[in-house]
């Protein structure tokens, strides 16, 4: 593995061959492996090791970046020169700030996210886990497909004004689809610590969903009460967090323009960005090395704050939007510079509901509704009302009189996130959830009234 010490030596070599006013090097890489299975066999099985550096140079308000995974002297000289060549030809940007001298104070300690047991997982270990999942499929006469992955990664930043930071992490992920003749079920879990993942439990739940959704009936599209399991919640709400950014407000591409401080969602909705949460993952600093702050984005349904990179905060203070966006401070959420998007909250944690309900309790209190395991192919239809479209997938059920009555054909939805988060009738306890459309989050299951299904597909 690339170590902090080795990266520091490489940064010294980078500095020596640069003529820029300021230099920053971001290091990335690690070892990763993924065992993929389908039709009850392992059909793809891969491993990778790769390390690189991305060098940013600054000449009087002009900045650019170049990256390489070749860390010999000649390649480092070339990458520095490429970065400098890109920077020198630009017009100076008066808004570009000097590089930070330190990352500032963090909101709190970040839990350990590197586990030797996860880093040591072998292809044989993953095959054994897959074998357990296949045995569940065979037992239920189902076909299974999915992944078991493990990784150990490093990420570090150094700049010529003295800032340096380093983060190591492990991760493991298991995703299981169970397929029957006319139905399917799905479960997924991931964690920095593989011991938190139970392939058997994930497989059994996916199998149960496939079996119970067999012979799906067709329900008419329309507005239905839905119970969204945590993975479905994260995949749909994830589309709005690009807009919780100061730069998005400045660019007038955010649905929060002219809405910060208003009651946008239901009073039961609270959302934080909190890298230190025990169920979260990721590095505790941003693309400039600034420590990520804990930010209360939504308080009782009112959007109170958005996040800021250093430069965005300065621009916002001088802008016409300054009086209507709440507190303006750098929050440690910037992307690597230079970039167009500014910043984004990436460690989303919903507020713990006052009276959490299990999914089973939500079902019991539902006269008629739809239970949704997973959403798929979500895209933005309308940016200001935040209407999103997408499909249900891998376990969609009719609920009647407080009980699951069986599977239904999958729906297409066209739903405004503003509308959805204003109609949350119940929430579950918080869970680390992982989907395919958005980044991992800590979210509850949600019961939502009047969710807008507009079409039904053929299965």
């Amino acid at each position: 593995m690339l170590t902090r010490e080795k990266a520091g030596e490489i940064f010294d070599r980078i500095r020596k061959c640069s003529t820029a006013d300021e230099v920053e090097a971001y290091f990335y890489g690690g070892r990763s492996a993924l065992t993929r299975f389908a039709n009850n066999v392992i059909h793809q099985n891969v491993a990778e090791e790769n390390y690189g550096t991305s060098v940013r140079t600054v000449f009087g308000g002009r900045t650019a970046r170049a990256s390489t995974n070749k860390l010999d002297d000649e390649s480092l000289q070339r990458v520095v020169r490429a970065s400098e060549d890109l920077a020198k030809v630009q017009h100076p940007d008066p808004d570009l700030l000097p590089m930070p001298t330190n990352g500032g104070m963090s909101s709190g300690p970040v839990p350990r996210r590197h586990f030797a047991e996860t880093a040591a997982i072998t292809p044989e270990d993953r095959a054994e886990g897959v074998g357990k999942i296949v045995r569940v499929a065979n037992h239920h006469k189902l076909t299974t497909a999915g992944i078991f992955s493990s990784a150990e990664s490093v990420e570090g930043i150094f700049n010529s004004r003295g800032l340096s930071d380093w983060h190591t992490q492990t991760s493991a992920e298991i995703s299981v689809t169970m397929l029957a003749k006319d139905s399917s079920g799905w479960q997924k879990g991931n964690s920095p610590d593989a011991r938190n993942l139970d392939p058997l439990a994930l497989a059994e739940t996916a199998a149960r969903k496939a079996i119970e959704s067999a012979i799906p009936r067709e329900l008419p599209a329309g507005k239905h009460t839905v119970i969204l399991e945590p993975a479905a919640v994260l995949d749909i709400v994830g589309f709005m967090f690009w807009d919780f950014a100061g730069q998005a407000i400045l660019d007038e591409r955010s649905f929060l323009n002219n809405r910060i401080g208003t009651q946008l969602f239901g009073q039961n909705v609270n959302i934080w960005d909190d890298v230190a949460h025990p169920l979260q993952s990721g590095s505790p600093y941003d693309g400039e090395g600034m420590r990520r702050q804990r930010v209360h984005l939504v308080e009782n349904g009112v959007v109170r704050r958005v996040v800021y990179a250093r430069g965005t905060a300065e621009k916002m203070k001088k802008s016409e939007h300054a009086a209507k966006v709440g507190p303006i401070e750098p929050t440690g959420h910037g992307f690597l510079l230079p970039n167009e998007m500014g910043e984004m909250p990436v460690n989303i944690v919903f507020g713990e509901p006052k009276n959490p309900q299990t999914v089973e309790q939500m079902i019991e209190s539902t006269e008629r509704g739809v239970l949704v395991t997973r959403l798929w192919y979500i895209r933005e239809v309308e940016p200001y009302e935040k209407i999103l479209t997408g499909m249900t997938r891998d376990g969609t059920f009719l609920i009647e009189n407080g009980e699951v009555q069986g599977g239904v054909r999958n729906f297409r939805f066209n739903e405004s996130l503003i509308h959805m988060l204003s109609n949350v009738e119940a929430m579950g306890t918080l869970a680390r959830a992982s989907g395919e459309e958005s980044f991992d989050m800590v979210v509850p299951a949600m019961k939502v009234k009047e969710f807008n299904f507009t079409e039904v597909t053929k299965f």
């Binding site: 066999v41 793809q44 790769n50 044989e124 995703s175 660019d251 230079p338 895209r379 009302e385």
Partner: protein, 488 residues
């Protein structure tokens, strides 16, 4: 590079692998962007490494490394072998590869102007001029431009003695104008949305796109959309511009014909396909006018799916996918060819980079133009009442590729053969085979464009790939319009 590949193949052979291949890939890319008169980003990137595939005990293993020293390459090959042995613990049948005559060959993208030889100043100057033109239109609140270039040099070697050297160039450029007013954000893009137009070409593509010439028109349309009426909901005749039809092909033809999807290999992520094997040469996919090919050959054009050989050494081919409306072909690989009774791969296996396993990917999936001369304006003149939709804004389709919904940036009502009022937020939806069977006209070759989709995601770990889609404007009858906005 030959020595490096041989180090890998020798270790695989010594350990007892029945097959091995190695790809050494050296990539270079440049990405430039502006936003509201400033540099958005300016970056170069390079990446070099080796990816090694091995079959041992009848199962696959793959390992990749950025370290090309002999010791590291041999360790990586040994790792691939060990992974294959682990794969064999959970298998039913041995992997079968369709035979392919090994060749020693070289191929390169025809590239008239090396994009990396063009000065950065010249590129930024063009983007900033376009940016200024966009913002010169009153009402524009955000202008974005971008330009991207990529060069990929690959050395492929297999235990069957194939030795192939390929160099591919690609270029892409485009821009968008946004207008925020009241409670709406409107957007217009050129030449296409989500990054513009992309092809396997050199800098000559930038000259051909007439970028600056169209900037003010595009910005003016973004402003005008705020005064346009909402696209009505109902069942209409629609005409799609060629870029939107290209994406329609990508989603509702290109993905469902991927044989790995059909066989369930993508069931956990990208999904499966309604095109089960019994549908080959029996399913009426579209109307008689629908003819689609998967063509990776240079003579098809400079698409993002054009190459000399795929990433397991199979030469580029043209496969008829839909022939006069009948479903006639899948995208296949050496491993999957036997499942459709083919004695040879269709040559579609590609990887995002050296560190990714090659998998079945779209090449250039193109609808062939109509044989009789027909321009877009003539097609509109031939349409009594309908809606013309241009430039994609949103796209979504279910995991078997039946139900789709697309939104476009702009539409126009067609009344008595003429473009009438502008419409905002046009969208349409349907079921794949019903949609293609409703096509009753397609414009001719002079209206046909080979579009590039640079961002096709598939696989675990996910790989992003460029695909090509040739299309001409076409007309469809009885299409559901506007349900994306129903109930909101």
């Amino acid at each position: 590079m030959k020595d490096i590949a041989d180090w890998a193949l020798n270790v695989a052979a010594q350990r007892g692998a029945s097959f091995a291949d190695a790809r050494i890939v050296d990539e270079r890319s440049r990405s430039l962007a502006t936003k509201n008169g400033k540099i958005g980003h300016a970056s170069d990137a390079e990446s070099l490494g080796i990816g090694i595939r091995v079959i041992a005990d009848g199962a696959w293993g793959f390992a990749a490394s950025d370290d090309l020293s002999q010791a590291a390459v041999e360790t990586t090959a040994a790792r691939a072998f060990a992974i294959a042995k682990a794969s064999a613990r959970v298998k039913q049948e041995n992997v079968r590869l369709a035979p392919e005559k090994p060749v020693t060959a070289a191929w390169a993208t025809p590239c008239q102007i090396d994009p990396f030889a063009i000065s950065i100043e010249q590129n930024l100057d063009l983007l900033l001029k376009i940016d200024a033109d966009l913002r010169s239109v009153a009402g524009v609140t955000l202008a974005e431009t971008s330009m991207n270039f990529r060069r990929e040099e690959q050395w492929y070697a297999s235990s069957e003695a194939a030795r192939i050297h390929q160099t591919k160039y690609s270029a892409g450029a485009g821009y968008a104008a946004y207008v925020f007013a009241g409670t709406e954000i409107m957007k217009r893009s050129y030449p296409n949305s989500f990054g513009g137009q992309w092809q396997n070409k050199g800098y000559e593509l930038i000259h051909e796109l007439k970028l600056q010439e169209n900037a003010r028109r595009v910005a003016e349309e973004a402003v005008a959309l705020h005064k346009a009426e909402q696209c009505p909901e109902g069942v209409f005749t629609i005409i799609l511009d060629s870029s939107q039809l290209g994406l329609q092909i990508h989603e509702s033809v290109g993905h469902p014909i991927e044989l790995d999807r059909v066989l369930g290999m993508e069931a956990n992520f990208a999904g499966t396909s309604f095109l089960t094997l019994d549908k080959l040469r029996t399913l009426r996919y579209g109307s008689d006018l629908v003819n689609v090919v998967a063509d990776a050959r240079q003579e098809h054009g400079p698409g993002l799916g054009t190459f000399g050989f795929d990433d397991e050494g199979v030469p580029a081919q043209c496969t008829p996918i839909i022939t006069n409306g009948l479903f006639t072909g899948y995208l296949s690989s050496r491993e999957t060819a036997h499942t459709i009774g083919a004695d040879r791969s269709g040559g579609t296996l590609r990887a995002e980079g050296w560190n990714r396993l090659p998998m079945i990917r779209m090449t250039n999936i193109s609808i062939l133009p109509g044989e009789k001369p027909l321009t877009l304006e003539q097609l509109i003149a031939d349409t009594d009442h309908g809606i013309y939709l241009e430039t994609n804004k949103s796209w979504s389709i279910d995991d078997k590729r039946y139900n789709f919904q697309f939104g476009c940036e702009i539409g126009w009502e067609i009344k008595k053969g003429k473009r009438a009022r502008m419409l905002k937020n046009p969208s349409y939806s349907g079921i794949t085979t019903e949609f293609w069977n409703s096509m009753d006209a397609i414009c001719s070759r002079d209206q046909w464009t080979l579009w590039g989709t640079p961002n096709c995601g598939k696989g675990q770990p996910q790989q992003v790939m460029g695909t090509g889609h040739g299309a001409a404007p076409a007309r469809f009858r009885g299409i559901k319009v506007g349900s994306a906005y129903r109930g909101n």
